[in-house]
């Protein structure tokens, strides 16, 4: 069975600094997708970044980038130039197709990030 592990329940970072959130997963699949979601204190969760496993190039979205290590089954999120608005719970998620148009989506337990002024 697939699992997603976020080993850092809480982290903090100074404003303007860089922080990396870790995520590891376990799967025997070769084709899958990985995501990072952000849930600010207002609670609406939003998609930050996604990575297709067949792509070697790491995804980047402005200040957010990932370090995808397929062999190591690692998918970390790097936030550069941290801003106060980055304070949120971050969830790592794994998705794979299960055939017939269905798919399996698994979330990690989350990392609470606090950006300090």
């Amino acid at each position: 069975a697939q699992t997603v592990t976020q080993s850092q329940p809480e982290m903090s970072v100074q404003e303007a600094e860089t922080v990396t959130l870790s995520c590891t997963y376990d799967t025997s699949e070769n084709n899958y997708y990985l995501f990072w979601y952000k849930q600010p204190p207002s609670r609406q969760m939003i998609l930050v970044i996604r990575q297709e496993a067949y792509k070697q190039q790491n995804a980047t979205e402005n200040r957010f980038s990932v370090n995808f290590q397929k062999a190591a089954k690692s998918f970390s999120l790097k936030i550069s130039d941290s801003q106060l608005g980055d304070t949120a719970m971050y969830f790592c998620a794994f998705m794979k197709h299960e055939g017939k148009g269905t798919y399996k989506y698994i979330f990690g337990t989350g990392t609470r990030l606090k950006v300090l002024a």
């Binding site: 997603v4 329940p9 997708y33 995501f35 979601y37 207002s42 609670r43 609406q44 969760m45 939003i46 998609l47 996604r50 297709e52 969830f91 998705m95 148009g101 269905t102 798919y103 989506y105 979330f107 990690g108 337990t109 989350g110």
Partner: protein
């Protein structure tokens, strides 16, 4: 701006009551989902629906049911609320047709307390 709207931000219900949580999306998405979020457990899938009238059990369906009579609306029903169903409930949707875009759009969540 695309939206997933959950009808209530906060609900307090009594044990044994029948509870309805409503979710409406305006994106014409085929797929809709109900999760519950608990500290230390992340998000756990309760039920999902790939299209109108369709429903599938997720990982923790016990004590819940769902209804999808219209494409835009996906309702979660607690048949007889219990205190262990006190939680944050998140609704999500995604298109079933956009190849390569498998990200969810989430609602703001409903914090349900059962007393």
């Amino acid at each position: 701006d695309v939206k997933v709207t959950q009808s209530s931000r906060y609900l307090v219900k009594r044990t044994g009551e029948k509870v309805f949580l409503e979710c409406v999306q305006d994106m014409d998405h085929e797929n809709m989902f109900w999760y519950r979020q608990d500290p230390g457990l992340g998000l756990r899938l309760i039920y999902f629906s790939y299209d109108v009238k369709m429903k599938e059990k997720g990982d923790i369906p016990e004590g819940y049911s769902v209804s999808r009579e219209k494409k835009e609306r996906f309702s979660l029903i607690l048949e007889s609320a219990s205190t262990n169903q006190t939680s944050m409930y998140l609704c999500a949707s995604r298109s079933g047709q956009v190849r390569g875009n498998y990200g969810y759009t989430f609602g703001s969540g409903t914090r349900l307390t059962v007393v």
